[in-house]
Symmetry: C2
Subunit: 189 residues, 2 copies
DNA sequence: CGACACATGTAACACGTTACATGATTTG
DNA sequence: CAAATCATGTAACGTGTTACATGTGTCG
């Protein structure tokens, strides 16, 4: 529902056309979460069908303009004033993967964890650099970008700490041997 | 693709039937990420169509058993040995919401942040309690559950820290006034 | 003129959710 | 016997992705 509501939020500011909605969305979430233009149009169709937006004729340049209906104004007001539900968090593919790998035979858990650490760390460094670049000249659109980047950085940092914890837990339950920096030959399974 | 691969992972252990696959999945991700039984059957249909699983006749109790094909074994091997891609992280509704709210007029940012803090904190406490219960007697299935719970707890803690940062950033850019614990009357917008 | 950005769509497909239908077996 | 659990499906719908089709305007 994020896209649906994002479109309503942007229309709350003023009436806009499809292509413009994508531009405004991507100006904020940018390279991180691109938005397919086809989805904008089909979402606008559904929003009109549901009575949340109204399709105006043209705007002088011939653009197909959409504006918020009263029902749409209610909807977006509710979205903004109500917290994003954390009762049913979206599935986390990585958590599912480790959860399965840890309880099924024939998986190399330390390798999986190490592999993931590499990927997550690489992305974290890339994001940190991006954040540094963006925070240089904080224009209006960059405020939005910073918020998104901060979010991703915090999530990735948490992911890395979680990977450490998983490794520690598995050592503790004896599922894998502790990996010491300069370990000599240890007893293998 | 998480469900698709989870089913393959469970089949790697041994041949199973639909209902059993759901049970095994939910034994690990449990109350957090329930799995609709209908989706199991339709996913199995697609997996069979794609040649990743083979539908065996019955198993003595009359169950519709599926087993991994060689192609399926390759597929799940690849999934387990390759890190979950962090290049295109899934959209975060909350990050999008704050990003939009911070750059559109007519939004009460402090209220949104405070509202979210309440919801996230409540969920965090619920999860912490759950984690305490589960970690009491670490049976095999509980290892999987713990991994999932740890993941959620870490993500929520990161979310709360991120909310603090957002507030601080907005104070810094002058978008909102600093909220002090025992603040007297301050200049309002 | 050719490439690229602007602009609006449609179609096919994958994935996910909810609800419905149907029947066997188990348990109070 | 009634209710719950086990077990296998189908149908409708919403959301999201990718690719395709089409046409205008601008810039080198």
């Amino acid at each position: 529902m994020a896209i649906r509501h994002s479109i309503l939020a942007l229309l709350q500011d003023k009436a806009r056309y499809g292509y413009e909605l994508r531009s405004e969305f991507e100006a904020r979430t940018g390279a991180v979460w691109p938005l397919n233009i086809g989805q904008v149009y089909s979402t606008l169709d559904r929003l009109e069908r549901d009575g949340l937006v109204t399709r105006e004729g043209a705007d002088g340049e011939g653009h197909v303009i959409y504006s918020l209906s009263p029902a749409g104004r209610d909807e977006i007001g509710g979205w903004l004033s109500t917290a994003v539900g954390r009762e049913a968090p979206p599935r986390n593919e990585l958590a599912i993967k480790l959860s399965l790998a840890a309880t099924l035979p024939g998986t190399d858990l330390p390798a999986i964890i190490q592999e993931q650490r590499g990927a997550s760390l690489a992305k974290l460094q890339e994001l940190s650099q991006l954040r540094k670049d963006v925070s240089g000249a904080p224009r209006t659109a960059d405020t939005a970008r910073l918020i998104v980047l901060d979010s991703l950085v915090f999530q990735l940092e948490a992911e890395l700490r979680w990977l450490d914890l998983c490794e520690a837990r598995l050592v503790h339950t004896g599922q894998i041997a502790a990996v010491l920096p300069d370990a000599g030959p240890a007893a293998a399974g």
